[in-house]
Symmetry: C2
Subunit: 356 residues, 2 copies
């Protein structure tokens, strides 16, 4: 975390008036952790689109350019960290990525976390023409935080086993030149559970509990002697029932906030990336648990389970559920600040990941 | 301050990517104090206009309507507090004021702090046609926070002595039906200093120090027996050199955050309004002192004093100064949260205010 006044993040993502996704999920946590945050809104909507109905507008590429150009002219493009998230449409994405490139060219020390928001669980929620733009832009990133579906789309590798998982990670490191990869959540299916080292596997006495796996991978710097392509860490977290929006945006912001390349805050068993991811995993899960607890405390009509047929015929059903599942960021701010202690979810070295 | 999850503020004001004015000065403090904040941006600019150059766009009335209508349809217009600040142009202001009226009609308990942002120190920075709209809207407000110039414009009374000051306050209470008025800052000139009760007067051993006076006035509820029109409190604060932007926006947010109509957090010597204003004055001055200290620590070329002639011929001069004077909100968040203790600036009863 920054010493007083040292950390300045430029955050470029969506804005919603009500609720916590995009910038609304990222900016407050970064501020709580001591960062000045410059906030550029790629959309201005009433609420996230999962509600089914929303109002507001998307910023055009030329509106975004107008903001970036004035910041540049005024000498206000001075972040030492950059965070980009959901950017709808290829033109706006190109505008943002050219700012990212400019900042990277100007400052090799820039820490850029690029969250390639493309889709989830097999569904794309951006236009297909953004994918090649992301592929070209990856080389400017310090860290990327795709989910498993986004890894598949970016690398064109279907992740079905350890071989394809290795190949996908290697493509991101080698072809796209990304030094730090965090695959934020992969459903822990049997094939994956069975190849995990014992110390990372969930306890076997919880067969009914679903888990997600988080994997991080860092290439060894040039000159480092290693027979392996990267250093890999992983950890599982219990999967909470139902869908919560903005979780990935919160997680990415926390990874960026806690990443210290010098590794000063990491313990000997941690790498700078694994430390940041452990912090992000711990705090994100803490906020999610708080949100889950709250949504469970609501009257029944505010927590009707997902049922696409019933939702379609009664939109209010979905809206009430969404409203009750907005992240409890404000109520959980002591978790974010680290002053409320909760179970620490430490990323563990996945020794043997690269050995067949 | 809200018990967990009880406080929800709808904040409608400007957004700037860099720096702290409007929503950027208000939202983070409200969140730190435990409020969920719904954020509607009336403008999306790169930086505040005091820099002389800026990019971005203003939301049209129909864009704002689109956001409000979707929030309404989705049942997301549920604030128990409302905060409105800078809204450029009469059409956008009308759109916002009709939402304010709707929320007020629906919920008589709504706490609405209306900051009638019109201008400062004799200069208007909105179009003249917004003034009548504000005049009509004042009746929906719980609290207003004009500076002395805005009081003059709204009431058409030039404040030159105690008689005109009384008249202006009485017009706001009686004609415009505002129960709580906070005149956030009046330069403490001799005429004003001389009519202050001794316990509110600045020490006489500081003749070179300029002060600002903050005045609050609350009408007695219907049925209360009082021979006086209102209960008046005041306090002075030392004036820091130079101009800081966003101070009024921060102050208003803090007044709203700390206002508890039941008065549960106020001591016997305080009213609910005077308590909220004392907190806001204390914390705003704390943040300002921190900002002043920081700007003094910058290299000389970043803190050249205001000189309109030199500024006009070298715009970078002004920009560097502005940049170094952005509020240190993130660095001062413990002041906002009340965990860092600083000198308490308590509003004191101005006994005799109404007696000639």
């Amino acid at each position: 975390m920054p010493r007083s006044g040292e950390g300045r993040v430029l955050s470029i993502q969506s804005h919603v008036s009500f609720g916590y996704v995009g910038g609304k999920a990222a900016v407050f946590p970064l501020q709580c952790l001591g960062y000045d945050v410059d906030v550029v809104n790629t959309v201005n909507l009433s609420n996230h689109t999962g509600y089914g109905r929303w109002g507001g507008t998307r910023a055009t590429a030329s509106e975004l350019d107008g903001i970036f150009e004035s910041m540049e002219q005024n000498g206000l493009l001075l972040p030492n960290r950059l965070l980009t998230g959901y950017i709808p449409g290829a033109e706006a994405l190109s505008a943002v990525m050219s700012v990212a490139k400019k900042l990277r060219d100007r400052n090799p020390e820039l820490l850029y976390l690029l969250d390639p928001v493309i889709g989830d669980s097999g569904k794309m929620y951006v236009a297909p023409d953004v994918v090649p733009i992301y592929r070209t832009a990856l080389q400017n990133a310090t860290i990327i935080t795709p989910n498993w579906f986004e890894v598949e789309v970016l690398t064109d590798v279907k992740i079905l086993d350890i071989t394809s998982l290795r190949r996908a990670i290697q493509i991101l490191h080698d072809e796209y030149r990304v030094p730090n990869i965090v695959i934020s959540s992969i459903p822990l299916r049997d094939w994956l559970r069975n190849i995990l080292p014992l110390h990372i596997r969930p306890p076997s006495d919880s067969p009914d509990q679903d888990f997600l796996l988080c994997i991080s991978s860092t290439t060894f710097g040039p000159g480092a002697e290693s027979s392996q392509p990267s250093s890999v860490y992983a950890q599982h977290v219990p999967c909470l029932p139902g869908y919560f929006s903005g979780v990935g945006d919160l997680f990415s912001a926390l990874v960026l906030a806690h990443f210290e390349p010098s590794g000063s805050s990491a313990s000997p068993a941690e790498s700078p990336l694994s430390h940041a991811v452990s912090q992000a995993l711990t705090k994100t899960h803490g906020i999610l648990s708080l949100t889950h607890e709250y949504s469970e405390s609501l009257p029944e009509e505010d927590r009707l389970p997902t049922d696409e047929e019933k939702d379609a015929s009664a939109p209010d059903r979905k809206i009430r559920r969404m409203r009750g599942r907005e992240l409890r960021l404000v109520q959980g701010q002591d978790i974010i600040r680290g002053t409320e202690h909760i179970e620490y979810r430490q990323m563990e070295p996945w020794t043997g990941f690269w050995e067949s």
